[in-house]
Symmetry: C2
Subunit: 223 residues, 2 copies
């Protein structure tokens, strides 16, 4: 059991608890029976079919949201990192089981909040709860928009278009033409939903033709 206090500041500044003062936060953490848990690399935090009643907040590390297509192919739906939430939508939808796996890609520290327990207890009384649900609403909004962007991404027709759309988005996020990505080649392929070797080939073609430059996981958009 990790000590919660160590991460107190980070927790306080996470979107989940945005706008709360120390007292409110403390009360809420207690009410939620908050605890910190460490997951090893490649460990499953959530698996398909699980009923989710906790809110998971990544304190440190990285997590893949994945789905195994029934003929064995892996689909990476998203890659989450520090301060991201896990499977929030399955908390919001009552009686819906998770349709995805959440798997760590490295050693990962997670804050776990017993959402259900708290909401059933403090139903209407808890004032903090109002701020919280507002925050959750906004977080979900953002996730939603990112999912739409991902749909746009994988909906491109050629591997080249998928790559360039992805790179554009990353560059925009980074406010720069250069950026590093978290994915290795296989992961990127699974994220963009293409064959790895074909993608590798397309990458070097893009470089030869002068559209991009890259060294390992560092990329530069030219033109």
């Amino acid at each position: 059991m990790e000590r919660l206090e160590k991460y107190y500041n980070q927790i306080k500044n996470s979107p989940v608890f945005y706008g709360m003062n120390d007292e409110e936060l403390k009360g809420l953490l207690e009410c939620f029976n908050a605890r910190v848990r460490k997951y090893e690399k490649e460990e499953m935090i959530i698996r398909q079919g699980d009923m989710i009643s906790n809110i998971y907040l990544i304190l440190d590390g990285a997590v893949n949201i994945e789905k195994d297509s029934y003929w064995g192919r892996r689909i990476i739906i998203s890659r989450l990192g520090k301060n991201d939430n896990l499977a929030l939508s399955f908390v919001g939808s009552k009686d819906v089981e998770s349709s995805v796996d959440a798997i760590t890609v490295e050693d990962t520290l997670v804050l776990i909040l017993g959402y259900e327990k708290c909401t059933s207890m403090c139903q209407n009384a808890c004032v903090r709860h109002k701020v919280l649900i507002n925050n959750l609403f906004q977080i979900l909004s953002k996730e939603n928009i990112e999912l739409i962007q991902k749909i746009e991404n994988v909906s491109q027709k050629t591997i080249r278009d998928k790559l360039m759309t992805y790179f554009s988005n990353e560059a925009q996020k980074n406010h720069s033409n250069t950026f590093s990505i978290n994915f290795n080649r296989q992961d990127l392929a699974d994220y963009l939903n293409v064959d790895r070797s074909a993608m590798s080939f397309e990458l070097s073609k893009l470089q030869k033709e002068g559209f991009i430059k890259y060294d390992k996981n560092h990329f530069e958009l030219l033109s």
Copy 2:
């Protein structure tokens, strides 16, 4: 201007206002400056780049959420109908403009709620607001899960797999092996992100091979 009262019962039973009594609902509708608007077929309700500050609830009709890929190809992200919400995620994310178009596919009736106006007015006072935001949170959760499902769908590698995944989902929704779909062939192709003629070809192949039977827009899953 359509009369709001006419749709009062429907509005009351929509997920947005779930769990509210008449008094609360009436107050909220007033606070939101609620109004009903009719859109003609193929009319744009929202277009890419719009700032969204209203909640849109479809009372009757059908709406496509679309995106034009920059090389002219149309992507249908989702098809919405009665009691569905439009672009809710863009309301939740402040200062984010819509990345999609919302276009009616037939004459459509929409309830429009001035979300921003209301929230700024009744900030903390309004009790009804708490129920509302809770509902919105759940609606967004559901949308989120559906988007994930759509990602899974378009992430299948062959046209056949996309079709069968889509059909399975539709059958499940309908609790039956037979179901009708809303899409015409071109729309379905744009939704599954494949070429229409190739899809048509695959459909008849699936029928010849005995996996499905179909007549126009009515389908049956065999085996």
